[in-house]
């Protein structure tokens, strides 16, 4: 009996699984599903999970990609209000948000068809928005002028509006500018202008450099002269101090100027005739006068 019931269970399981496959289906987290009954979409599922259906050929399950798809627009020209031809390409991330609307609109949920429609909508939105923004809203060193993000946002809003009113079942998650450019003929004009700017820059750099260099030299000369003259003034002051200090000592000698004078002369003489001296003396010089008239001299 045991063996018997085990076999029964296994058999029942197999039948169950087969049945499940017929009546149930899974919706993955990355999918949305349209269920058609005899070819007509009757149900849309956007949440993942396990769902039941009537078996083929009554109902059919169409799985569509729910993930964000990459869209890249063409790189085409549009005119700004201030008369510039600007080439702009944008990219966008879009996804199927309403599969029931999307599925019949694009030949059984064809992504390529949807992209063709998007291409058109985005091109229109792009040129409409560019038509409202002067050139310096696209490129500008001034933060107030630059409207890069605003432009992207305006295009996005426009595209969203169009998609909504036409109920394509598509949602745009994001949209951004991918590329900017100028018509080919304009690029040579830009080159000419840039080249002129470079020439101006070269002479400006050189003259500025020279001017600054000579300023530096002049300042250095001035500072150096001031340093030396300051030092000279300080030296003069020091000498002045020295002399006034010396004068204090001289005050002492004032008591007997004659002696002071004599002593100074003595030291002077001694200093003058200190070394390597050749003395040439005649008989009148004391004490050599002693050689001549000793008596006279001594008496004098």
């Amino acid at each position: 009996m045991k063996k018997n019931s085990l076999n029964m269970i296994v058999g029942a399981l197999l039948i169950l699984i087969f049945g499940l496959l017929l009546f149930l289906f899974q919706v993955r987290t990355s999918e949305v599903v349209v269920v058609t009954t005899f070819g007509k979409p009757t149900r849309q599922i956007t949440e993942p999970g396990l769902y039941a259906k009537a078996p083929w050929p009554i109902q059919k399950v169409h799985k569509l990609d729910k993930r964000i798809q990459n869209f890249e627009s063409k790189f085409d020209e549009a005119l700004t209000p201030d008369g510039y031809n600007l080439l702009v390409a944008v990219y966008a991330g879009w996804r199927i948000s309403e599969p029931a609307a999307f599925f019949p609109k694009f030949a059984g949920g064809s992504v390529a068809e949807a992209e063709r429609a998007l291409q058109e909508i985005i091109r229109d939105a792009k040129s409409a928005v560019i038509g409202q923004h002067p050139f310096n809203h696209f490129i500008s060193v001034s933060e107030n002028e630059l409207k890069f993000a605003e432009i992207e946002n305006e295009i996005l809003q426009r595209v969203r509006g169009r998609l909504q009113t036409n109920s394509y079942g598509i949602d745009i998650a994001f949209l951004g500018i991918k590329k900017l450019g100028l018509p080919e003929s304009v690029t040579s004009e830009v080159f000419q202008r840039m080249s002129a700017e470079r020439q101006v820059l070269v002479s400006k750099i050189e003259s500025e450099g020279n001017a600054r260099a000579s300023t530096i030299r002049a300042e250095a000369d001035r500072d150096a002269a001031r340093l030396v003259s300051d030092a000279e003034a300080a030296a003069l002051r020091i000498r002045g101090e020295a002399e006034s200090k010396a004068a204090e000592s001289l005050q002492t000698m004032n008591q007997e100027p004659e002696l002071a004078n004599f002593l100074l002369r003595l030291t002077g003489l001694e200093m003058f005739l200190r070394e390597r001296t050749t003395l040439i003396l005649d008989q009148n010089t004391s004490p050599l006068d002693l050689l001549n008239r000793p008596a006279n001299a001594s008496r004098k």
Binding site: N4, R28, G93, T187, D223, R276, N284
Partner: protein
């Protein structure tokens, strides 16, 4: 099949309690029973194998550069990071209960943008050659960025980024790498649109790069790409048509830099010379002061010492010291020449050869001319 099984089972169980005598008829049914018995065994083995296969088929491995997510009835098992299955063996129920989705994954990824570069082909890239620049840039082939001051530059960028939310990165986009590349493209144009050409090229490329990084971060957060920017590396060049002009400007700045440096070193030298000069002047003045003050003080001290002597008898004092100094002088003199008056009263002629000795320290002091007093 199960009907058969039942039938056979009944037979097998019924047989032992009521053994039937062997008849030719019984022999036939017995052979049938044996045959059924053996086929039943085959079926049982097959079913066992099926069951084993059923469970074993649930095993799957995730490679080292892969991540997987187990979807149970379409929903990921586990929340957020926990839903992500790393490298190794895992088990899942077979379809239609569980489903395994694997995706290539490495934490650090890179994206490249050449949407600001002139036309090249992969072969040219490999051989490092390029088409000669034309007069113009054809928007269909050549790309470039427009700077804030309406100049043209070429930029190529590569972005290293880290996937911080793999669930989002792998399962929310048909191609997240493309979305990241587009975010990088967008950031290049966005950043270039607000920098002037010199800042982007040379003067402030760091800020330019940081602006790009910040924009990619911002855009990818806005678009919920599940990444963070690690690093952007850039190659920025002026249009090849104007390479010469840009080089000239660069050389001019190098030259001007050199002129400046020369001026600076001149300034340093002049200042340090002046400082030295000033210091030496001060030093001399200082030492002059010391010398003068010392000298005068010693004179004064000497004077003070002599003063009492002098006051006793000034006449004698003067004579005494005069002779004393004269003695000293005579004693120290190197050569002494005595030159008496000629007897006829005429003056004598004296020849002096002053450079009689090689110069040592000081020139020989001039001797007083002692004739004809």
């Amino acid at each position: 099949m199960s009907e058969h099984d039942h039938h056979h089972h009944d037979h097998a169980h019924d047989a032992p309690p009521a053994p039937v005598p062997l008849t030719p008829d019984d022999a036939g049914s017995r052979a049938l029973s044996d045959a059924l018995h053996s086929s039943f065994w085959i079926v049982k083995v097959i079913m066992a194998i099926l069951v084993v296969v059923f469970f074993v088929s649930g095993f799957f491995t995730v490679g080292p550069q892969q991540r997987a997510v187990k979807l149970r009835f379409g929903k990921p098992v586990g929340k957020g990071e926990a839903a992500l299955l790393g490298p190794g063996a895992h088990w899942a129920w077979p379809y239609p209960i569980d489903e395994v989705v694997k995706a290539p994954f490495s934490e650090v990824q890179s994206a490249n943008s050449t949407l600001g570069w002139y036309a090249t082909t992969p072969e040219q890239e490999a051989t490092r050659t390029e088409n000669p620049p034309g007069q113009t840039l054809d928007p269909a082939r050549d790309s470039y960025l427009l700077t804030g001051d309406a100049n043209i530059i070429h930029v190529r960028a590569s972005l290293r980024y880290r996937i911080t939310d793999p669930l989002q990165y792998i399962f929310a986009f048909t191609s997240a790498p493309d979305a990241v590349t587009n975010a990088l493209n967008n950031a290049l144009y966005f950043a270039a649109a607000q920098f002037n050409v010199d800042d982007a090229l040379t003067r402030n490329q760091t800020a330019f790069r940081e602006r790009i990084e910040r924009r990619v971060d911002q855009v990818s957060a806005q678009q919920n790409l599940g990444i963070t920017v690690e690093q952007v590396t850039l190659t920025v060049i002026p249009p090849r048509q104007l390479a010469e002009m840009f080089r000239a400007a660069l050389e001019a700045s190098v030259r001007s830099e050199r002129v400046m440096n020369e001026a600076k070193s001149y300034a340093n030298e002049a200042l340090s010379r002046a400082q030295g000069d000033a210091a030496s002047r001060l030093g001399i003045a200082e030492s002059d002061r010391t010398r003068l003050v010392e000298a005068v003080r010693s004179e004064a001290d000497y004077f003070k010492k002599m003063l009492p002597e002098y006051r006793k008898n000034p006449e004698l004092f003067l004579r005494f010291w005069q002779s004393k100094v004269a003695q000293n002088v005579f004693a120290n003199a190197q050569e002494r020449i005595y030159l008496p008056d000629r007897l006829d009263g005429k003056s004598r002629t004296l020849r002096l050869d002053l450079s009689r000795e090689p110069l040592k320290q000081k020139p020989a002091p001039e001797a007083p001319k002692g004739d004809g007093h």
